[in-house]
């Protein structure tokens, strides 16, 4: 479902003497439907960079990034937009929303975007928010004023609203209490059970051992640091 072949990434800083910083070389990995792969490595090793390359947020310098058959490294913007709408979900560490939009709508949005009926989308959103212990009295408010932990849970609810066949999870359990952490882990297990291919970053070792089928150390892909 997700396959990287010899991907490299470098940043060129034109305004700082055109310094070229290579950050990734020869990155290859393969994730089958129903499988969860954990990215590991020290902070700064390039876990998030790799994830952003898969999402098309960072432009790969070379190699192929195949998600559901589409090469994200070469695709047209509208193909990537369609891929993100239908196929590839991304739970980032930060929630970015339009001010004033109620939480329930924020969570239902990915479902509405794929043409789900409004009431069904709102029902599913309500179900997810309830599972993640967001009090119902907050649902009609914009999440911009919520606490960090609440925003993160809203973000997770939004990320799991649509049943994406491929998902990227950037520290989904970070800073959650035991009960919510458990809920998130079961959401991940349910996603795997329905056949989603998942790439995740988990600093929480127990969580990683529970949901991930294999680990990839991204420092192997760091230029000049061949493992």
């Amino acid at each position: 479902m997700i396959e990287l072949k010899d991907v490299s990434k470098s940043f060129t800083l034109h305004n700082q003497g055109s310094a070229v910083i290579p950050v990734m070389e020869g990155a290859s990995l393969k994730v089958a439907p129903g499988e969860c792969v954990a990215l590991t490595g020290a902070s700064g090793a390039g876990k998030s960079t790799l994830m952003r390359v898969i999402y098309g947020n960072y432009l790969a310098a070379s190699g192929q990034v195949l998600v559901g058959g589409l090469d994200v490294a070469r695709a047209e913007p509208r193909e990537i937009l369609a891929l993100r709408r239908e196929t590839l979900g991304y739970v980032s560490q930060f929630l970015r929303v339009v001010p004033r939009v109620p939480t329930l709508e924020v969570v239902a949005e990915p479902l509405l975007a794929v043409g789900c009926a409004r009431q069904a989308a709102l029902d599913k959103a309500a179900d997810l928010l309830a599972r993640l212990n967001i009090p119902e009295r907050l649902w009609s408010l914009s999440p911009t004023t919520f606490s960090g932990g609440e925003q993160q849970r809203v973000n997770i609810a939004r990320g799991f609203a649509h049943d994406y066949p491929a998902m990227l999870l950037d520290e989904p359990t970070a800073s959650l209490d035991a009960q919510n952490r458990e809920t998130v882990l079961s959401l991940i297990e349910e996603a795997k059970a329905r056949g989603a291919a998942i790439v995740g970053i988990f600093h929480d070792i127990e969580a990683r051992n529970r949901v991930c089928d294999c680990e990839i150390d991204v420092s192997e892909f760091t230029p000049g640091m061949v493992a």
């Binding site: 800083l13 034109h14 305004n15 947020n57 509208r78 937009l81 339009v98 001010p99 004033r100 975007a113």
Partner: protein, 256 residues
């Protein structure tokens, strides 16, 4: 899928100066494209060429019309182009007073566009005007007030209602949130995003505000000195800018 708008090699010179040069892109139904760049980069010139307000020196602007399919709006007859700009196109000006009739009531401003496409029943026109005032969050008791007594944010919302009442498929916006304070801006952004999604609109938005494009635009074009220096997915261009100018632009934004 046929692109709604195909722009090919648009050029516009002001004497020896370049307004914009060699701009090409396709816009598909439902897509929102942002154009950013500093003042004088040619973004407004480009927008005016696309919307038929300026005649480009070279190039084509091919719009997928409802009746006849793709047609070049640059070489189209004036009446045909005017008809398009009243029906399938909309243009939201930076200054609401450029897009409104200040001496006509709010309801009249909305109704005028309906009458231009053949609506004649006063009751229907008034009902639709009131419906649209509601959608842009203007109280219906203000329907008979003139926009000259509205606040800047209300005028901008009225301009949007006037433009969208005929159900256009393509909206051009020139700095739609420029000059509004941030809370009004947020409200307008939320409104625009909702309308874009509900009506399946395509839009071309010119702005210098990167936060606005991040929230509204799927795709982004960066202009400098009349040329497109970088184009791509909005978040990719903003998070991993490739061109020196885009890097400068992104790194110059003040963090709040």
């Amino acid at each position: 899928m046929t692109p709604l708008l195909q722009v090919k090699g648009i050029e516009k010179h002001y004497g020896a100066r370049i307004g914009c040069s060699d701009v090409s892109f396709d816009l598909y139904p439902g897509e929102v494209m942002g154009i950013v760049g500093e003042s004088g980069s040619g973004k407004s010139t480009l927008l005016n060429c696309l919307a038929g307000h300026l005649e480009p020196d070279a190039g084509q602007v091919i719009f997928d019309t409802r009746a006849d399919g793709p047609a070049d709006t640059v070489t189209m007859s004036e009446p045909e182009r005017r008809m398009l700009s009243r029906t399938d196109w909309a243009f939201v000006h930076q200054h609401a007073r450029d897009g409104l009739r200040m001496s006509v009531s709010a309801g009249g401003n909305i109704g005028e566009r309906l009458m231009a496409v053949g609506d004649r029943h006063y009751g229907t026109i008034r009902d639709r005007a009131i419906d649209w005032l509601g959608r842009v969050e203007i109280d219906e008791t203000r329907v008979d007030d003139r926009p000259s007594v509205f606040s800047g944010g209300m005028q901008q919302r009225l301009q949007i209602a006037r433009n969208l009442v005929t159900g256009p498929r393509l909206v051009f916006m020139d700095e739609p949130t420029g000059g509004l304070d941030v809370s009004v801006q947020a409200r307008l952004l939320d409104l625009l995003r909702g309308l874009v999604r509900e009506m399946g609109l395509s839009a071309v938005i010119v702005t210098h505000d990167l936060a606005v494009v991040r929230l509204l635009a799927d795709r982004l074009m960066v202009m400098k000195d009349g040329r497109v220096v970088e184009a791509g997915l909005t978040d990719q261009v903003l998070d991993d800018p490739q061109h020196a100018y885009t890097q400068l632009l992104v790194s110059s934004v003040l963090q709040v």
